[in-house]
Symmetry: D2
Subunit: 268 residues, 4 copies
């Protein structure tokens, strides 16, 4: 799978195709590359991303040029932000001589958090995905997906038990299509504010007392979690559409409790 | 997370909710259960499935009853076929007092294959997912997804090299919404017929010679693979809509080549 | 990679090798096959196993015959028990003309459990691995590994907080080399008896009250968990050597707490 | 799970234990943290590591202090090299008041490679693990593990077929205990030199012709691969002991071919 070169080596991909079948997405999948992401404090975070990069292929072309996708990644050291993501997509679509394009970039992102009582600082990691799409006619759409790990504490267990309540780690995943800039840190904070309690890398004993009592004071079903996050997303004007999911890795079962709300404000 | 019981223990899930937010899907995720699947030869295959089971929850209910999903799985030994999948969904929606429901069931499925020259028999495993959905108004839709591992051999590599051609294992994934019965075996055969060569569990030397030469005689780009499968799916009247994907785990790179075609015949 | 056949096709694997390097393990990895496992109640459980099958290869042989491993799996429908595992290994070592051999077989195994108060029954799944080894001189050793998911509740969190205590799902993994027959069910019960509380597929509200209070009454650090299981394994004469690990998927952090004890009684 | 603090909050972990059972390893598992790794060219590479950090716990202590492990990671921005790994372990053992310790740190590492004909440059990613161990008496041992993806081409398939030969991506994993400094780049190069062909991120058509023909000219069984790497490792005096594994993701089967050689030069 190679690019065109000005030699006598035949260029099979560039030949015509008669099957009358356009391809929605074609490109490279699961390629790792180092990136730099701008954070809310004005700094730059070095991390490692997994990329999927695709273009649409009209019915009359036999193949795309796979190596051009890799050239784009390697052409210069990537300093990536929500703003620079669109130019990268437009460059890809142009170089691949395509009309439509789609890039997904998944990376661990770190936020420095202070423990709630002692104030000791530590990093928490979140899995973030940037998804950019150029549609027919050149319209660009940006979607940000974040997996936010939190504590959930079961209201039923608390209510029916004389003491204690089962709780567990949960993954709240928000996928938001935005019409204006939204920081990773803003979306994380929005989600963590709705959980029974947020997570920390480092907790000293007074902090552990705090998070234990905070979760007990703030029980949430998986249904409550997605509803309370959806309420916040509904009130945020920079978000056009969203999916919010919560998966609770139940501490009393070997399976998860799960809920999902999806909403497109533009559909109304 | 429990069912209603006629005791004095409070039923928190059953209380009213005032947030005015309906939940699209709520239920249990990633629960493993043994099942029996009917095969094309009239036999029954024992296997192990991973289930996701969800219902829609109207805005005025606080929570669903998680334990009822598990009760359905455990209520009787499940002999599951494409036909019995719809009754299971309708039972779930009824027991959960819901209007809409969604079940995904993923399992390894085995097909006994004869090697192409020696005829020696062995099992090949495929990952199959049954997806059933009951929409508002009670309309039922069935989708079958199969991951078919095959050999792909690169036409460009063959054309430009004096000898040899890079080849590799690929995953062709077909997701088909059907209007009539389609066997797993039929869909697997449809895909394998379009690959550079199909895979086998057991090959003797004359078979290995055959599959090597067969793949070399039959080179396919990732684009060819999805187009040739799409052509077959277009001609199959039992299929209403489909997505076909191919991921080639390139033997010359540390990333994949990927292509996708999706088509809904009903949209025209 | 094929077997010997009485044809003119050359047999590359069977040629001599001059590098003077014996190979400890060579064979096939990650092949799925359906199996039947005998359970403690005299029944037979159908499940799906992932196999790794290796033999030792003396320095003077160029290659092993990969297809013979697959032939062994496909030769007859496998009804596998701890007892039938040794004959399967001896057959493999014999067919491959080897002196030493190693088989790992990992499968989901289900135990029907009654909820602690209501008595409602449901299946719980456990990941089990059988490991058989034939050493030089023909000595056979059998090792059974089970991952048992349980609830752990933190003693520190309970002690320092006015109410509540963080708890989570944990995986307790026991790897035991045995000198006499031990049922999967026996080892699972031994581990579950030491947890803050055991898990169930299905719990009604009185059961949920029970498991919540039981875990709160029975807090365990990850250190307590491995020590208390190790104490039981020390008292079980059918076990010659063991490793016990516990990984707690902390509900207040995004990482795990972990502990491990290993002990070989024969070393003393 | 917290550190000692000079308050009235009880310190449960610090209490005495009477079970007479020492714990081989206790600590934190699967915590992600950004690191900087020194590369062979004198530069520094930013990457993301997954850490497991454990100490030994004597029989008379109830628990370790989990938060101190996290403090070590967060105490200063980590610039990690083979040389700085030992001081980090000694700091951990000291802060945890332990005698023995064990750290595993797994991260993606990138090497800039030039394509074999065109010379175009691109990054290739490798999964590297540093493993450090402090034994009783304070002896330190360092082990480096690298997964090197390569192309393997089957000698049997080439020999018996009139044209073509099946080939595929393989993972060669080397785990080396060293007595002197060895760069990641050196070990990668040693392995890649023994493969049918090495992999590249970016290949133009003349490069693709080269790698196709190179692999065909250089067929290797999984047995050859581990033997040829073992031969190189035997000749490298900085390596005291090693395990070399190769897993070929066979393009003609749905399972892998696998081989392993392990050797400790000090045992002789």
């Amino acid at each position: 799978m190679t690019t065109q070169t000005p030699t006598a080596i035949p260029d099979v991909q560039n030949s015509a195709d008669s099957r009358q079948l356009a391809i929605n997405k074609v490109g490279i999948k699961s390629i790792r590359h180092p990136i730099k992401v701008m954070d809310k404090n004005g700094g730059v975070q070095h991390t490692i991303a997994m990329f999927n990069m695709y273009v649409g292929l009209p019915h009359n072309f036999k193949g795309t040029h796979m190596s051009r996708f890799v050239e784009i990644l390697n052409s210069h050291e990537r300093e990536i932000s929500v703003e620079s993501f669109e130019p990268m997509l437009r460059e890809m679509v142009h170089k691949l001589e395509a009309e439509t394009g789609h890039v997904e970039m998944t990376f661990p992102y770190f936020i420095n958090k202070a423990a709630p009582v002692s104030g000791v600082q530590s990093l928490m990691d979140y899995e973030v995905t940037f998804i950019g799409e150029i549609r027919e006619g050149g319209v660009y759409e940006f979607t940000m997906k974040i997996v936010v790990p939190v504590t959930s504490l079961c209201p039923c267990s608390k209510k029916i038990s004389e003491y204690g309540a089962h709780n567990q780690r949960s993954h709240v995943t928000v996928t938001t299509t935005t019409n204006d800039h939204l920081w990773i840190e803003e979306l994380v904070q929005l989600v963590e504010g709705q959980a029974s309690c947020e997570l920390y890398g480092l907790l000293k004993r007074p902090d552990e007392k705090y998070v234990t009592e905070r979760a007990y004071d703030n029980p949430k079903f998986v249904e409550d979690m997605v509803r309370d996050v959806a309420g916040c997303l509904n009130r945020e004007p920079r978000i056009d559409a969203y999916v919010v999911e919560s998966e609770n890795f139940e501490s009393i079962h070997n399976h998860s409790a799960y809920a999902l709300i999806e909403h497109d404000k533009r559909a109304q």
